[in-house]
Every structure is written in C-alpha cells, then in structure tokens.
Amino acid sequence: MSTINADQVQKIGDLAKLEFDSDEQQKLAQQLSTILELVEKMDQYNTDDIDPMAHPLDIAQPLRHDEITEESVRDKAMELAPEASAGLYLVPKVIND
C-alpha cells in the first residue's frame, strides 16, 4: 500500500503550484495516504480486458463553420484583471536579462 511522505507533498505541490508549511505538509501526507488507501481498493478488481471510459456519452466533438458569431468581450474581461494595462495582463518579470 502506498503512503505519501512530506517530501512528496512538496514535489506534488510544486507541480500543482501550491505551497505548504512543514506542519501542513505532515498533515497532508497523512491525509493523502488515507485517501490512497481508499483508492487502492480498485486493485481488487480485474480490469485486464476492459476499455477505459473517459466520458459517459458516446459522442464526438461537434463542429461548426469557422464564422465569427460572438462579439469581443476583451474589455469586459480586462476589467476583472488584478493588474492590466493596454490590453495586457501584468505579472512579475519572467525573462531575466
């Protein structure tokens, strides 16, 4: 049975862009391990010849003609931005000189 330790919590957090202090890491390691205990009950079932099911309905992506059907909402959307200027979202500097 898999358990998760605090180091792994750190690594998964990096992937998920979440940060935790060391107490939280310990607690989360325990909770995630308990969840994995629940999840690993799946191993009791043989699924060798079973197709995976991603979606409840048997549908294909519907397509439409490539025509403009909606008005631009850019201005309305930009109003929601924490920091924006001249139609651009502002973030801390990404590219180093």
Binding site: I12, M42, M53, P92
Partner: protein
Amino acid sequence: MHRLTLSELSRQLQNGDITSRQLTEHFLSRINQYDGNINSYTTATEQQALAQADHADRLLQQNQGGPLTGIPFAHKDIFCTEGIKTACGSKMLDNFVPPYDATVTHYLQQAGAVLLGKTNMDEFAMGSSNENSYYGPVSNPWDNQRVPGGSSGGSAAAVAAGLAPVATGTDTGGSIRQPAALCGVSGIKPTYGRVSRFGMIAFASSLDQGGVIGKTAECLARMLQPMAQPDGKDSTCFTQPPEDYLQTIERPMDNLTIGVPSEFFESDMEQGVTDCVNQAIEDLQSMGATVKSVSLPHTEAALSAYYIIAPAECSSNLARYDGVRYGHRCNEPQDLQDLYKRSRSEGLGDEVKRRIMTGTYALSAGYYDAYYLKAQKIRQLVKQDYVQAFNDVDCIVAPTTPATAFEQGEKTQDPVAMYLSDMFTIPVNLAGLPALSLPCGFNNGLPVGMQLIGTYFDEGRLLNIAHQYQQQTQWHQYFPEEYN
C-alpha cells in the same frame, strides 16, 4: 405562500390572486428574518429581484406568462450571473463579477423566473456538508447543529426553510441528491449532457451536471424544463430538446418494474433509513410496481474510482486560478512562481487543495496507469452494471444516503469519512445516469431520502414515479416548525 408548490404559485399568479412582486417581497422578507440562522444565501439580489418581478407582472397582466413567469428562485453560486458576484464558495473568487450569464441563468431568465439571490455552497462544489465554504457553514433547518449536506447545501436549506420556493443545484458525486435527502426536499440530477454546463464553474467536467432542488417532483419538472434545452455553447450538451415533463408526470405508472440493488443494502446504514426506504418500496409495490432484486457488483469500487477521477479533473480545471487574469492575487508577488503559489494557496481552501493534490499525484508521471487509467476502467465496469440492470428493470430504487444528517464538525477531521456519505450517489455520476431523491420518512426527527435511478435521458420517468408516489404519500409536505 412559502408552503405552496410551484404549480399552486403559478396558478395564483396566472389568476391574478397574487403578484410576482408580492411573492418576491415575501421571500426577501423571510430571507432577512431567518437566514441569519441558516446562512443559505451568500448574495441577495433584492433590486434585481424586484425589477424582474415587476417585469413578470407586466407579462402576466397581458396573459403572456409561462409556467415559470414570476416564480422566485435561489441560484447556486456556481452559475455565472452577469454583473452579480459569483464566488463558488471560495475566497479565490470573492471579487469575481462575471461578464456573462451561464446558459442556465439565461434560460431561467427567459422563462420569467425571478432571481432571489445566490446560495452558499461547498467551495468549488467539493464537499458533502457545506462546511467547506469561505462564507461559513450552512445549518440544516431541521436541526441547526447539523449539516444540510453538500455541496448544494445552501440551495437545499433555502427550499427546506421556505426561503425560496425552488432552487438550482449541481451534482458531481451527489451534491444535489444528498443535501435534498438530508433536508427533506426533492432534488434531481439529470442525465449527463441534459443541462448545459456553459457558465457553470467547472469542477469535474465528465461528471458535473446542473439540476433542481424543490418541494415536489412537479416543482422539479417545471423548473427543469427550460434548463434542459439544448445549447450549442456546450459541446457535451445533448442536441435534442426534452419531452414535456409536466405532461409526462401525469401519466399513470403502468407496468413498472423497479430494481432494488442488494449491494446498497449490504453496507453500513442507519436502521431507520433502511426501514423508511423499505416502506417506500412497499408503497410503490402497492401502487402496482413489480419489485426485483438487482446486482451492482462494482458499487464499492465506484467510490475509489471517483476519488481519482474527480480530483484528477479538478486539478486540471482549477489550474486556471493563477492570480493572473481574475480572482484573488497575492500581494507583491516576487516572481511568477510566487504569484502562482501564493495566490492559489491563499485563495483556495483545504478540501480543494487536498483534491488538487490527489489529482495531481494521480496524473503525474509514473502513476497515471495505476490510478487514473485503472479508475477509468472501473468506471466502465460501473456503467456496465447499470446497463445490465436496466435490461431487467425500468428504474432502480435505493437509499440516497447511508444515514440522516450528521452533526457539524463530526466528519471534518477525516476526509474519507466525509467521502463515504456519497457512496450511494457517486456511481450514478460515473455512469452519467439521471437520478432523483425524494423524501420518504423520518428517523429520529431527521429526514430520510430515497433515490430513483433511471437509464439515460429517462428523467421523465423518474419525475413521473416521484410525482405518483407524492400523490399517495405526505412526506414532501412536512416542514420544519421553526421556520413555519
């Protein structure tokens, strides 16, 4: 007025016995008076509600009203409402005012319904008790030390306490049916793809479905009709319009075979819940239904598969909350990583973070096959169980939850204990089937719900069975004394 069903309210509105304004003012006044104890609403939309009510009254006076014209409703705060704060129970969206309406919002508005306000919910629809909201927990109107269920806890509590005649909800693992059962009201989760998800804030895209919580099956039918219309903006939305539910519910319940799943009753359940559901099955039998035992052997596996699939999809859907374009941003980010990590860690609650972490782990390199792929195969097996059962029976009848409403704080320390309260509702979401919960009794003064599960796009039959049952029984008429 808060004790009346939608059909009674609609008749009075059409006859001119009451106006929508009077009705709306009545509910707004009750919200002011009682919601301090319950906390079912996070945003009341008084001015808009009265304006919409006046507009509805004009239509009614000109005899241009439809089945929902002038009817007030409460709207789960997961549906975008243009110009009206939509926070999804989260600090991350506490400052979010959508620039557009969800399709469900738009269709209900077109049908003339009047928006009373946005209801409280577990954050990002993740929870079974409405204890995970940034805006505080919701209390069960039957016992305010107990939970109403979740994630649509605010909607269920509002309807149960007469703070709205009907409400919208969403259901990913049971979030309409479980709170409906714990609050003694009716709730329907339609077939996956029946109701458009455009503008409905996403949790798990292959499981989420919008639906209705109300007093009776007839209320559900009336409200679901406009919600279930096709929508080209959601590519997973079914393209054919629904049947006329208000007509279908009146049909006699002929030649009905119902299946009772043995696995549901083998699990740990409150005796009182088992007794109420068994009595309800006998009632259906005396109404002419034939009862058969069916087997759904992968019921237990469904819970495990769900707690990989839903977190995996959630980890992907919630990646958009990055502090860049909208929502919470941390103060003085040092660099991009800091911006992302602090904005997300500050803005998102513990249960949400737990699920994002579970999902990220399951999808990460080296674990995908063991967890996510395996879960998708279990999902196929769960679906096959139901498809096979529906060869033999028309409808499956089961408890909605293993127990009645638990106390606030009772399960917050153990996430898995909380997850177990959804064991009867989760398989239905995995398979994508429609299901309805309706009240069928009480245990120690707390409501008990029974669940009707149908085959794909068979909402009409479920509404019909529930309506016929409610013509013969009175459980849906009970009302918590404190709010009378």
